[in-house]
Symmetry: C2
Subunit: 239 residues, 2 copies
Amino acid sequence: MTTGDPDGGTPPATSDVLWLRGERERPARRAAPLTLERIVTEAVAELDAHGAERLTMRRLAQRLDVTSTALYWHVSTKEDLLDLAVDHILGEVPLPEPGPEPRAALRALLLGWRAAMLAHPWSPGLLGRPLLGPNVLARTEFVQATLTRAGLAGLELASATHQLTGFVIGTAMTDATWRRLDDPEIVTRARAHITGLREIYPTLSTSGFVDQEWSDDDLFGVSLERILDTLTPSPAREP
Amino acid sequence: MTTGDPDGGTPPATSDVLWLRGERERPARRAAPLTLERIVTEAVAELDAHGAERLTMRRLAQRLDVTSTALYWHVSTKEDLLDLAVDHILGEVPLPEPGPEPRAALRALLLGWRAAMLAHPWSPGLLGRPLLGPNVLARTEFVQATLTRAGLAGLELASATHQLTGFVIGTAMTDATWRRLDDPEIVTRARAHITGLREIYPTLSTSGFVDQEWSDDDLFGVSLERILDTLTPSPAREP
DNA sequence: ACCTGAACACCGTTCAAGT
DNA sequence: ACCTGAACACCGTTCAAGT
């Protein structure tokens, strides 16, 4: 291999001399080459910044300083890109050490799962496509492996997995809805709407459903413990 | 009030005589007047037929035999229309008689909730907006009222509501994904994809996760019972 | 191999105008 | 009050062409 001499062909015509070329004619090398990874990372950034409805191929391309059509060399469709974005953020979910305590491991994983989704509140709404990315599957594998270690099998195992994943996804979906609102006043209006219909919604308007006595994180926390209670040996609870 | 004589003014000019007007000149009265209700009903029909991504204001208008811009007189935005569609199908969920058996009432309501969503598999994906329609609220009111009747209050009530609604929504979301697929072969391919990576997903590929030993409805059924176990007095179960 | 430019067939929505 | 028609400012995606 020779030293870097990329263009060993005929010398350039004298009409093209480096020192005579204007500043703007310099290679102006792109900050980084366009790769699938850069595209996905930037897509996530755009989604975080402006939400799902504002992500367009053209805006994303602008961010990456290329033509929108250039993206199609790396990704075959916008839907594929969204699938990649979802799996990408699920990669942020830490996989706990598979220690000797299944319950703690499950709790840690599911709290992390929820945290990742709510950190990117556009993500729960994008879960309506087959979740088969490596990061999702790794997390699901972890859940099932841990449940197996806890002694579950067959229908009990399947049901437990169903319960846990359904629960994280469902609550993330509804909780993300409220976190995504740009106008916090809508929450107050929603509350007023329900309490204003006290006759129609007697329980909702008086049960604390509309108050924010407990945060959604608190609620998720205690609910998760209740579910884990039924799946793994648990500390004693009063009936 | 006189008998029907809508136009009591000057008689029509002789150049305009009923019997001389061509067939095509007849009023050609629209099948039905355009109302918000017809719009929503037809939107649901279009969604059922072709899915969420194919619903456009123009296609919907065509279905209703009007201009797309006519819709905007009745509905202020497409998003509002989708909110209406979601609440509309939730109206299909039967509200059980609030009999003396809370557990049976909850089971019936939640099974109905799931059934309605899966009957319109585009709906779970549209749950990312504040659910404040009358039909959703009525169902949520029912859940909370029944739980209250079962003796829950305060944090326990809030957590139970959170668990149940999160669970139905989350599982409906993932189950609808697979029911929406036009190509059933994708399921087989998904299965093959996981079992093909047996080293990476040892549990998933051998636990029955990919087999269809239990239908998603079966899984929902038993999981729901497990959750209800923790919320209401339940028949004895072995530990 | 990788990117640009032009083009196609659409979108949601606004608004003046008709009846 | 209710609907049409034209128009605006976009979309995702394809494809020939450049380097």
